[in-house]
């Protein structure tokens, strides 16, 4: 979330699309309802009428996998009806940038596509630079080569008729949504988006969100109270896990993981430290070397020195051109390239696309260690459906671990609040907190590297590892290391810090080895003022629900990021009724003469772009400080599948043609080639669109919740929701067990026949969609059913490689037919 949960209450229009927050983020509705009480409009767009829809002022449906068509139509509506917030667009976005002559979009493809490699060369997506190296701009937005005009041209194809034919959303309802949301494109209104896996889990997942980012920038909804682009994370600490570098391509604090072709720290800094020629751009990532060196000092302590590049060479590197995402790992496992696997706090046999492939992949391992609370389909895969235990050689070790309430530590919510939690009770039996398991494991590994020894021992033997107290994992020691220390006496301004003092905030981190920080964005979370994550002061001087002393929020306790975009170029709030920040420096002769902001922690202390008399300041800074150029990206040349979102059909879809262009599917989508990677488009055997989702009562694959009697009583079995029309077509009665099957697998589910699903009119044909929750598995309960991911495919988004679990093709039939 760029904003945070409480801030939803500030919104004038809440779009819930790609998410069903009433079911899956129930507490969010505390704030959604407050917004509604204040007159906000709630819009729910979902293939099926959900609990969220039941509370919405406007509900409309769309076929799964057609969000870009829907949003592309909204972009066209906003531009053609001049609903965009012009001052914001001109001053704070790259709409005025001029593109080079080579940029083009034709037949569904952007310029630079290499059909053989199935990849884009993005060099033709570059801007025209002036003599100083700054992109040329046309502030009138009239130049046919400027981003704004190219945007207009790109989405001119997204007319109501075509959008409606693709999405199945009736035209009058499209218009209703467009009108309501576009009404927030004025200074004193804010619209927000609540999205979740309904947008991310597609082969166009990132572009779904990019489309909304474009809308939010056009309407001036970024950085303001009640606005933003808000990802509702699918697990209570998944924000924390990405912050801490759980993914293969990032180290803590979003530092890219280098590949083998980046052998030295100097190379790394050169490759990953962006530069700008525009003095008004803060270009915050220019500080990357400080964060990388401070990270290396946390990893390797005193051994990390300038003369050995702080042991950069010891960091594991990726193989160039190779990916190590979830889909890639299980593909490699299936192809017997991986022989050992730690399944820690997850249940991949049910959680990802194409569970039959995953389950078979586990059978190809020599060993697997499962760390979890309860038995699950991964740990017991060898005795699961279709498996012959006698023939499976995988040796499985199960380590029981503690639940969240049985250990102390931090949890980072979707709104980036890092909240400290105390231990409520001791872990049951011999189960242990994850931290203790890791400490014991590493101590043993290190002992083995000492004797008998092993390949490349240096990073193991020299790892700084002092996180235990009385031989047990100490979360405070880890939290302090994550925050970071001064490693020598340091004077900043009039204050001197001693070696061993905690660093107050990341602005003081250095690239010379004099500071450490395990994760720069968490610097300030635990400093000499104490454990800021444990703060519980619920005062709100802001009046807009920032609660600055409740827990702590990254970065530097900034509750709404890009908040400098909430003010006009002179530093005054666009919406004075809900100010996030305001520049209140002294004024002399129409010019600011002192530097002072009030409100939220601003995105940097610098002066605003202009003085009160309208004159430009050379020391003013642009609001989007994490972008090298300081502007919000309406044009986004950094992605693998194009600078503007384009509608492509899901990799399995019910149509033969893409009505927007010649290219049916995302040309650079991630696919795999094993015998388990089968897909069928427009195959009469699999005529219905399928999607997967969640219910309130269960969490993820249900490893925790399926064992809780009250929850399993309320949602005991996997079900498949379908329209009354489809049930009639297939002779299915509500409540009877049916077979749902895809080209990859099948499962039994209870038919839930409902008015809340309706057939779609797609390309003038009637198309049915069904949906299933994915929380179940064969281990428990006996009658619960199995995972909906038996149906989904192992195909992914080219940028994130997330599986496309939200749109695939299935058949539904009565049992025995």
């Amino acid at each position: 979330m760029t904003n945070h949960w409480n801030d939803l209450a500030n919104s004038d229009c809440i779009l819930a699309m790609g998410a069903n927050p009433a079911s899956n983020h129930p507490i969010s509705f505390k704030w959604v309802m407050k917004a509604k009480d204040n007159g906000a409009t709630l819009i729910s767009v979902d293939p099926r009428f959900t609990q969220t829809s039941s509370k919405a002022d406007i509900y409309t449906s769309l076929r799964s996998g057609t969000d870009i068509a829907f949003l592309g139509g909204m972009i066209k509506y906003i531009i053609e009806n001049e609903k965009y917030f012009k001052d914001y667009v001109v001053n704070y976005t790259n709409a005025a940038y001029i593109l080079g002559d080579k940029y083009d979009f034709k037949d569904g493809l952007f310029s630079g596509f290499d059909a053989e490699k199935r990849a884009y060369d993005s060099s033709s997506w570059a801007y025209v630079l002036d003599e100083k190296g700054i992109p040329n701009k046309d502030l009138t937005l009239q130049d046919p080569k400027c981003v704004f005009q190219l945007l207009k041209k790109h989405y001119s194809r997204y007319d109501m008729d075509t959008v409606s034919k693709v999405t199945g959303t009736p035209k009058d309802q499209l218009l209703k949504v467009y009108e309501a949301y576009a009404a927030t494109g004025v200074p004193d209104k804010a619209g927000t988006i609540m999205y979740a896996m309904g947008w991310t889990q597609h082969t166009v997942g990132v572009q779904n969100i990019r489309a909304m980012c474009i809308i939010q920038l056009l309407l001036g909804n970024m950085g303001v109270a009640g606005g933003g682009v808000n990802a509702l994370r699918g697990e209570s600490n998944v924000q924390g896990s990405t912050d801490a570098g759980l993914l293969f391509h990032i180290y803590p604090g979003y530092l890219p993981v280098p590949s083998a072709s980046v052998p030295t720290l100097a190379d790394y800094n050169k490759k990953f430290t962006p530069v700008t020629k525009d003095p008004r751009s803060a270009n915050w990532w220019q500080n990357r070397p400080k964060y990388m060196v401070s990270f290396l000092k946390t990893m390797y302590g005193d051994v990390a020195k300038p003369e050995n590049e702080f042991c950069y060479a010891w960091l594991p590197k990726l193989q160039d051109g190779k990916s190590y995402s979830w889909l890639d790992l299980f593909d490699a496992m299936y192809r017997k390239e991986i022989s050992g696997f730690f399944s820690w706090g997850q249940n991949p046999a049910c959680s990802g696309g194409n569970s039959n492939k995953t389950r078979q992949a586990l059978a190809n391992l020599d060993w697997m260690v499962v760390v979890n609370l309860f038995d699950n389909e991964t740990a017991s895969f060898w005795k699961g459906p279709g498996m012959n235990p006698k023939k499976i050689k995988t040796e499985v070790f199960f380590l029981p671990c503690a639940a969240s309430m049985e250990k102390e530590g931090s949890i980072s919510n979707s709104g980036r609040w890092v909240q400290w939690r105390y231990k409520a009770q001791n872990p049951a039996g011999k189960s242990k907190p994850d931290g203790d398991i890791i400490v014991e494991l590493f101590n043993e590994i290190r002992a083995l590297y000492k004797k008998p020894g092993g390949a490349f021992p240096d990073p193991i033997l020299n790892l700084k590892w002092d996180y235990a107290t009385n031989h047990a994992f100490d979360p405070h020691k880890v939290a302090k290391a994550v925050n970071g220390y001064f490693l020598k006496d340091t004077t900043v301004g009039d204050k001197t810090y001693k070696a061993g003092d905690l660093v107050p905030a990341f602005a003081m981190l250095k690239d010379d080895g004099s500071t450490s920080s395990g994760n720069w964005i968490y610097c300030q979370s635990y400093n000499n003022e104490g454990n800021n994550m444990a703060r519980r002061d619920n005062s709100d001087p802001s009046g807009i629900g920032l609660y600055p002393k409740w827990a702590w929020c990254w970065p530097v306790n900034r509750r709404i990021i890009y908040n400098r975009a909430s003010v006009d170029p002179t530093g005054k709030p666009w919406n004075p009724k809900k100010p996030v920040v305001e520049f209140v420096g002294e004024v002399k002769d129409g010019k600011y003469v002192s530097q002072k902001w009030k409100g939220d922690v601003p995105d940097g202390p610098w002066y605003p772009l202009k003085n009160p008399d309208g004159t430009a300041r050379e020391d003013g800074k642009l609001p989007f400080i994490m972008k090298p150029d300081g502007y919000g990206s309406i044009f986004g040349p950094g992605l693998k599948d194009g600078p503007f979102p384009e509608h492509y059909e899901p990799l399995e879809c019910p149509v033969e043609k893409n009505l927007f262009g010649a290219q049916l599917i995302n040309p650079v989508a991630v696919t795999y080639k094993t015998d388990k990677d089968v897909r069928m488009t427009c195959d009469p055997r699999f005529p219905f669109v399928g999607t997967s989702y969640r219910v309130t009562e269960h969490w993820q694959t249900g490893v925790l919740t399926r064992w809780l009697p009250w929850l399993i009583e309320a949602q005991p079995q996997v079900f498949v929701e379908m329209s009354e029309e489809l049930a009639k077509l297939r002779g299915i009665q509500n409540g009877e067990k049916v077979i749902v099957e895809s080209p990859r697998g099948s499962l039994e589910a209870v038919a839930l026949v409902t008015k809340r699903f309706k057939p779609f009119k797609i390309h003038d044909q009637e198309i049915h969609e069904v949906g299933l929750p994915y929380h179940y598995g064969w281990v428990w309960p006996a009658e619960g059913g199995d995972s909906a991911n038996l149906l989904t495919a192992s195909v992914g988004d080219p940028n994130t490689r997330i599986p496309e679990s939200k749109a695939f093709m299935v058949n539904v039939r009565k049992k025995g037919v």
Binding site: S23, F29, Q51, S54, E713, A714, P716, N734, V750, L752
Partner: protein, 235 residues
């Protein structure tokens, strides 16, 4: 009798079922084996270990889907017919708490004929618990008399469940009704002057649940009973 009341604003209920779980948790109630019967609603009905149940009802309004949620529970009638029925057979089987107005069944309620007690309830609430005692929502009398909110109210994230002094709840309910009337002409408070659990609905009450509204005015039943006419005689 002032006492306490609930105000349940169904327009804010998202069917998260926090109330249903909190009720089970506070009362440490067991579960029954369930199956999905083509609905989200489970257990299918109130039972000896389910005192609070979110009921789901799919409707179509002007050709558009609507999904009504009704967190069902004992209404704690101002003049509870079940109390009269039980007391017709046994003393000390039920109390009506003076301070709150909560109607609470005691162990001796098992000496009253269950079917008769159940059918005397205009909302079909009483159920037979383990050991034969008749059971239902207690208004969390143990919590409320210690200054806490009922468990279902405490957990509700949206403001659907409210609890407090009766006058305050009636006022809140009336204000909310006034606000919604314009948009929903059928908006109403159900049986507000008879019971302590005041539901606000925006459509005909029976579209939410067949027993959302009393089939016979509970005051009327009480008068019949007071007149010596037992329900079994006039049904």
């Amino acid at each position: 009798m002032a006492g306490k009341s609930f105000f349940i604003d169904t327009t804010k209920c998202t069917a998260c079922r926090g109330c249903q779980m909190a009720c089970k948790n506070w009362n440490q109630n067991a579960t029954v084996p369930t199956k999905n019967q083509g609905s989200y609603q489970n257990p299918p009905d109130l039972d000896g270990s389910t005192f609070k149940l979110v009921r789901y009802s799919e409707q179509e309004v002007d050709g558009k889907p609507a999904w009504y949620f009704f967190p069902d529970q004992c209404r704690h009638c101002l003049e509870p017919p079940c109390k009269d029925t039980i007391e017709g057979y046994v003393q000390g089987g039920v109390v009506q708490d003076e301070a709150t107005g909560a109607v609470v069944y005691l162990e001796k309620s098992k000496e009253a004929p269950f079917d008769e007690v159940r059918s005397s309830c205009p909302y079909d609430i009483p159920r037979k618990g383990k050991n034969g005692q008749i059971v239902k929502c207690t208004m969390c009398i143990d919590r409320v008399s210690n200054g806490l909110l009922p468990a279902c109210v405490k957990i509700c994230p949206t403001g659907a469940m409210n609890f407090g002094d009766r006058e305050a709840m009636l006022k809140l309910a009336q204000e909310r009704l006034e606000k919604l009337k314009g948009k929903y002409p059928k908006a109403q408070l159900i049986d507000a002057d008879q019971i302590r659990v005041i539901y606000l609905v925006v459509d005909e009450p029976r579209k939410y649940h067949k027993n959302a509204i009393a089939s016979v005015n509970p005051g009327f039943i009480r008068k019949l009973l007071a007149g010596g006419l037992r329900k079994r005689d006039w049904v």
